[in-house]
């Protein structure tokens, strides 16, 4: 059985270490917050907050308190607020230890595409380009293949890039891969996935 969304999020949470300041993207990355356990992790929301808390109870939503996905959230005892320029100063300045992001495509060189499908999807990059350029470690969480069964782990991206040579680690429903010189290295196989299966689903070069 390949990993489901929650199992992928739980695996991504294993990447986080005590004391880290971390930015989580929208989608599966948001679920990572459910699996940090006892680790002392501070979540950054790039619209101007460190120390993001869980969703509010019904009736306690505050229109002045949202995350970067525009969802209502809550604050914690450690929370601080700041403006967008300061927020991206800490992102660009390398103060955020890791970002966990979704992706449409990743290449064997660590190129990432997750913001635009020409002629179809033109929503914008939001803070993704700043995050991948600035944070300490970029971890991508995504399905290994698209709905048609084609690999999303490619020799080179076909879509416009979010960043060039920025991805460190890829966590998919089939396993974990690291971007290393010459291609990708298999770090871990998902439960029930064989090396042959992950190789067959990967267009990118896999180095031993």
């Amino acid at each position: 059985m390949p990993w489901d969304r929650n199992r992928m999020a739980a695996r991504a949470a294993e990447e986080l270490e005590d004391g880290m300041y971390v930015n989580l993207g929208i989608g599966i990355p948001t679920l990572v917050a459910n699996y940090v356990g006892d680790k002392d992790i501070t979540l950054q929301s790039e619209n101007g907050m460190l120390g993001m808390g869980p969703f509010p109870f019904e009736g306690e939503e505050d229109p002045d308190l949202i995350n970067a996905g525009k969802q209502t959230i809550t604050e914690l005892a450690r929370t601080s607020y700041f403006d967008s320029a300061t927020s991206f100063g800490m992102i660009r300045g390398g103060k955020i230890a890791a970002a966990i992001l979704g992706a449409m495509e990743v290449s064997e060189k660590g190129d990432l595409a997750n913001w635009m499908i020409p002629g179809k999807l033109v929503k914008g990059m939001g803070g993704a380009m700043d995050l991948v350029a600035g944070v300490g470690k970029v971890i991508v969480v995504m399905d290994h293949t698209n709905k048609a069964g084609d690999s999303k782990v490619l020799k080179s991206c076909t879509l416009p890039l979010t960043g060039k040579a920025v991805v460190d680690r890829i966590i998919t429903n089939m396993g974990v891969l690291d971007v290393v010189p010459g291609g990708l290295r298999i770090v871990q196989l998902a439960d029930g996935i064989t090396e042959d299966e992950i190789r067959a689903a990967t267009e990118a070069a896999i180095v031993a």
Partner: protein, 234 residues
Amino acid sequence: MKKVYATADEALEGLLHDGMFIAAGGFGLCGIPELAIDALVRSGVKDLTVASNNAGVDDFGLGKLLATRQIRKMISSYVGENAEFMRQYLSGELELEFNPQGTLAERMRAGGSGIPGFYTKTGVGTLIAEGKEVKTFDGEDYILERGIVADLSIVKAWKADDTGNLVFRKTARNFNPPAAMCGKVCLAEVEEIVPRGSLDPDMIHLPGIYVHRIVEGAHEKRIEKVTTRQKETA
């Protein structure tokens, strides 16, 4: 000099002209200058270029100025919540310049700080870098981005005193301080104008030097995505 005006319409008097460049605060629908947007709709000013992280939704925020076709060009990082925006953009009626979110914030901050350009790693090797100067510092490539100076800034704060010192609330601060800084003139709208001396000087988020006109009023403060959790039953 008196900064406080009775309405946003009065506060904008003498500041508007067709084709002008406006910087707006807010993130999504959070901390957006609702009163100024409504007044701009009523003014009929057109061919606007607007720098704002988002473009509102179809019937709220900057979406109102898109519906009336008063905006000619947007400079934004994310516009995914607005169907009318997408329609105008795909049909070529609306010009769009995508900026990475941090680059947009820094362009505003820099423009307001007398910095005409800065180098950033953000966007190197992407579409964003096309046509921009690349410079190598310590072996890494950076691209040159320009500071923004707007004809007018419209921002929303929680409280102001009559000298324009501003205090924001929670994540409604977002783009408001950098947007305020980059305007030749800044109109700040607030939920409450408090007496001079009642704000703690150590707790001012944006000093009044950046704020030229102030208006107080009720804000709808619409929530874009209400998300909640269940109370656990013991």
